[in-house]
Each structure stands twice: as C-alpha cells, then as structure tokens.
Symmetry: C2
Subunit: 278 residues, 2 copies
C-alpha cells in the first residue's frame, strides 16, 4: 500500500520540520505519537481553531480550508505534511498531493491498514464525523486492502462537542454512545476504527458499549510509523543533534489551545502563535 503519491516529490532539506494540521485540537494525538517515535524531529502543528469543526461542513469547504492549512505549514518550511484531520484526509488528500511538492500523509489508510491487521472475522466498524462517513473513504481504503471485508459506518456528530465540553467520562456521554452504537453492536464486528482524532479520548466509554471483544483502532501510532518509514525511504531524517522544537500555530484562541496542548502533550512548546486565515 503506497503511502505517498506516485509522482516523486522533491526532497526538502532534512532539517525542515514535519508539518501536521488538523481542524483543531484532535491532531495532537498524532503529534504525541510522532514525538515518542521521532524525538529528534522538529514539528510544526497548525490547528484551524477559527473554522473548527470540519466534520459538518461541505467537501468544497473542507478542501479549501485544507489548502489554506497546507499553505501555512509550507510557509514554515516543512519536509512533509501529515493531514491529522479525518475529514480533510477524506476529501482533500488527492488535491493536496497534486498541489504541494512534499509528501502528504493522511490518516485514513494507516487506520484502515491497522484495522485489517486486527480483524479476524472481517467485519469492521467505522465511527466518524458526518463528512468522513459521507465520503466513503474508509470503506474504499478497507476494501482496497481486502475486498471481502464487510464495513459498517456510523456518524457520531455529538462526540466532538462532548469531548470539547470535557464530558468524556460522564453518564450523558455513555448514553449518547449507547444510542449511536446500538445498531453497530448487533453487527458482530471485531474491530472498530475511531475515525476522528477526538474519539480516542472516548475510548473508555466506547469500549464499555462495544464490549472487550471489539478492538478499538486509533490510527495515531500507525501514522507515526508511516512518517518514520517515509522519512527513512527518502533518507530525510533530521541529522543535527540540537534539541528538536515543537511550534504550534492556530487561527483562533492561542492561549486556551496552549493550556490544553501543554497538559495533553506533557512537553515544552517552543512557540505558539495565532495566524489570521481570512
């Protein structure tokens, strides 16, 4: 399964950063795994907090926003771009691959690959935003790997606002999960893709509804592995031994983002700034 576009990309200087963007906060789950695996790499993160959420917007808007975000990252000198947002990965990946001369990595394929490794009965569930479910990209990615896999997708629009309200573990969220996942539970799936970067924060609640026999697939680790692989293939790892930097840019509310990012990542953030997008 190729992780980069077939067109060969210019190799940017190895001391350039790894760029990561998301519609907001969720992509930090991916940043955390990249830092763990590649502590010597500089990272530039962009969260489009002025236009979050993407999962309820149209494909045209998601593509336009994603191009803006990639342009922000390119202006910060990145050697590759990780699209940490599932809605952007669903609709904008091909456009970004054509438009930008660095490797572009989405989160759909890594998630699909991991799910195929984990499923035994070949029945895989996908939960995601309306945009991601509507795109059918997980279905496509899963069946590209193995045509015989049965895929059942469910949109869970309230999961993101519940996480953002800080209600990841209360009874209401458990009830919402119970309602969203009621029919999925009857389908006898044994792997469930968490197709939105916010959802790993609801693992406990989701696992309680689905039962222990269903493996929850969080693509963040898989994405970090593919970043490593891509850099190695291109001999493009950062060589200097100077301490790596993490810089964060957002389009709104830098201070509140900073607070959450610090506690979530548990590491020093070297720079945080706000960039007006329009």
């Amino acid at each position: 399964m190729p992780v980069v576009s077939k067109k060969s990309k210019r190799i940017a200087p190895s001391n350039y950063a790894i760029g990561v963007f998301d519609s907001g906060l969720g992509g930090l789950t991916v940043v955390k795994e990249i830092i763990k695996l590649l502590p010597n790499e500089d990272i530039v993160y962009f969260g489009d907090t002025a236009r979050v959420p993407y999962g309820t917007k149209s494909s045209e808007s998601i593509v336009r926003f994603s191009i803006d975000n990639a342009n922000v990252l390119m202006s910060k000198k990145v050697k590759m771009i990780v699209v940490a947002c599932n809605s952007s990965s669903s609709y904008a990946l091909e456009v970004l691959k054509k438009k930008f001369n660095v490797p572009i990595l989405g989160v759909i394929e890594p998630g699909a690959q991991k799910a195929v490794k984990l499923t035994k009965n070949k029945k895989v569930g996908v939960i995601a935003t309306s945009a991601t479910v509507g795109s059918g990209k997980y279905l496509e990615a899963l069946q590209n790997i193995d045509k015989s896999i049965k895929v059942i997708s469910v949109a869970c629009p309230l999961f993101v606002p519940l996480v953002e309200e800080g209600w990841a573990n209360n009874q209401i969220t458990a009830d919402v999960a119970g309602l969203y996942l009621k029919n999925l539970k009857k389908e006898n799936i044994d792997a469930l893709i968490l197709g939105c970067t916010h959802y790993p924060l609801l693992k406990t609640v989701i696992s309680k509804v689905m039962g222990k026999k269903v493996a929850l697939v969080d693509s963040a680790k898989e994405v970090a592995h593919q970043v490593e692989m891509m850099l190695d293939q291109r001999k493009n790892r950062r060589k200097t031994k100077q301490k790596a930097r993490l810089r964060i840019f957002v389009s709104d509310k830098p201070q509140s983002f900073m607070r959450i990012a610090k506690s979530f990542l548990g590491c020093k953030i070297d720079e945080i700034s706000c960039i007006k997008m329009m």
Copy 2:
C-alpha cells in the same frame, strides 16, 4: 432605551431590503417573526455556515466574521442590518455601528427589555453560548434598565449541537438540560432569557426543567417589533405593493440549508446562493 446608534444614519431607499445575519440557521427564528409582522418587506438573510459555530470562538474572530457578514448584506442593498446572532451582538455591535452607514440592531437589548417587563421578583436567568456569557452583555443591558435586577448566567455549549443533531426532544437532551440548569433552578428566578437563536427550539425541554413559573424569553418577536419601530421612525417602510422577496445566502451547504429553511419558515424562498467567504 435607544435601539440605534446615536450618530444619525443615512436613510437608504425604502425599497431596499432588511438584512439579517447569523452564524448559521438560528437567525431564521427572527426572520419568521419579521415576515409575520412586516410581510411587505424584502428580506436578505446571510448564514455563515462555513464558520459556524461562533459561540466557542474568540471575540476577535467573532468581530472579524461579523464585519464580513455585514459587508455581504451591504452588497445586496439593505436599509438596515439585524444581527440575529447573540455572540455577534455581544462583541461586534459597536464596531458594526461605527463601520456601516445603516441602522444596526442586535438581539441583546430587545431580549433584556422583554425580560425586565416579565420579571416580578427581579431575578433573571440568562442561558447562552460561552462567548455570549463571557461577554457579560446581557448583565450590562439588564442592569442598564434596572440596577436592582439580579442576573445569573449559565453557558450551555451542547445545546446548539443537540439542536443540530435533531435531538430537541429526546431524553438525552432533557438530561443535559437538567445538568446545565441544576444550579440555576435553585436561584428562584422568574424569567429566563434564551440567549442563543437555537434555544427557542428547546423550549419544551427547558420549561420542563425550570417549571411553569419561569417565563422563557425568546427575543425574536421583540426584535421584529423593534425593526418595525425603527422603520417607522425613519419613515422607511417599503412602499410598493409588489410581492416581497426573501433571499438567502450562506457560506456553505446551500442545499441542506434550503431544505431546513423551507420547512422551518413554511414560505417560498425566492433565491438561495452560496458565497465563498475566504
């Protein structure tokens, strides 16, 4: 209580439309009341569906978005602008009044006026988005009218996504309302301002929690009355007897907006188009 800025505004031609903007769908509650009261007026509505919601964004972003929205309306020839969004009314009203040469009417003052009329024990509750509550504008407006009024405000961030999920009347929404309003219930208020244009759709659920003795204040009717008053003061009512037109513009998803708007307003929409904002 003056409803227009003190600086006198140029009087636009009376056949120009009444402009209304909101972050999304909610402002249609205001449009409905204006149509009822002023069926002979053309209306232009703009919903910024590409950047919705506003209630979780910073004041700077809300001001910037509001100026963009007012510019869209001005380009469609409007004789006044109704800011149907509470978050915009909280942060952007003064800027808009300075920047645009037509009367600008927000929803905070009309709501506050109605609440003061309704309260007997002078204890008024306000429920709204985090941005609106954080602005303190309802408190200010209420106490400008009557200093002795006690105001208790509560942010209810999940109400908007619950309405948009179509869950206005299910048990989960009742539980969420129970949790948000638990402390407010103990305060012995007798009037509760629904400080977000989505909230009137949750009236049944909110009323069940708060009890029948608490009057729910939905400012849409009051706003329509102030529009009428403003037009009359300025002798600026539309004079032609040609059928009035309702034109709707959004920044994303025109088709799904159209479907909801049609069923909600129960009247013909003469034009709906999508305007790219950035």
